[in-house]
Symmetry: C2
Subunit: 90 residues, 2 copies
DNA sequence: GAGAGCAATATCGTTCTTGATCATGTCCTT
DNA sequence: AAGGACATGATCAAGAACGATATTGCTCTC
């Protein structure tokens, strides 16, 4: 399933046309991104929760040269499946 | 950010009222769940991708009794942040 | 439909998640 | 506003993911 399919789902279940549906998908995604960028957690009961956690790993590996390389510290997005997703994937 | 906030985002960016917006969120989530339950992968460029992978770990741990316990094999949902999410969390 | 733009893959050592479960905290519905 | 429902945290060890990068393959845009 790709982004267009999601827009199609919106189109089929609302009074919005295709273009507006696609715009709607973008709007929602941007809202989610913004929420995460502001260090908020996203919690969608029954589906999943997303949260930003800090990375601790400070190394990596250069495959070609086969040696360790330094990695800049940063953050990571943690995804936790909710109850419904756990059921379908158990 | 929680589910109601997402519905609010829809309400503010479409001709849908609150109830329809909430219904829209459920519709989309159900489409995503169904997609995953059918072993499809979800790929939203610039945001993230979700895919179902089979679990390999076959053990667990009972904290109270402090001993290993068997775990039934099943599936797991893997989340991979897309470019935009990587940027905001780097 | 073609070209451009991301995602997928392989690699390997260290860090981190997975898994069950109860208690607690947070959210949603009545 | 309160109660019911669901997420969170703690716990431990072993197996899996993470990280960079270039190439390949799929997706999106025009």
């Amino acid at each position: 399933m790709i982004k267009n399919d999601i827009a199609l789902t919106i189109e089929n279940n609302s009074e919005l046309n295709r273009a507006k549906s696609l715009l709607m998908v973008e709007t929602i995604l941007n809202a989610l991104k913004k929420s995460l960028s502001e260090d908020e957690k996203i919690e969608i009961r029954g589906f999943a929760s997303l949260r930003v956690v800090s990375k601790k790993t400070g190394y990596g590996r250069d495959i070609r040269r086969k040696k360790q390389i330094k990695i800049k510290q940063g953050k990571r997005i943690k995804f936790r499946p909710g109850q419904d997703l756990k059921n379908l994937s158990s």
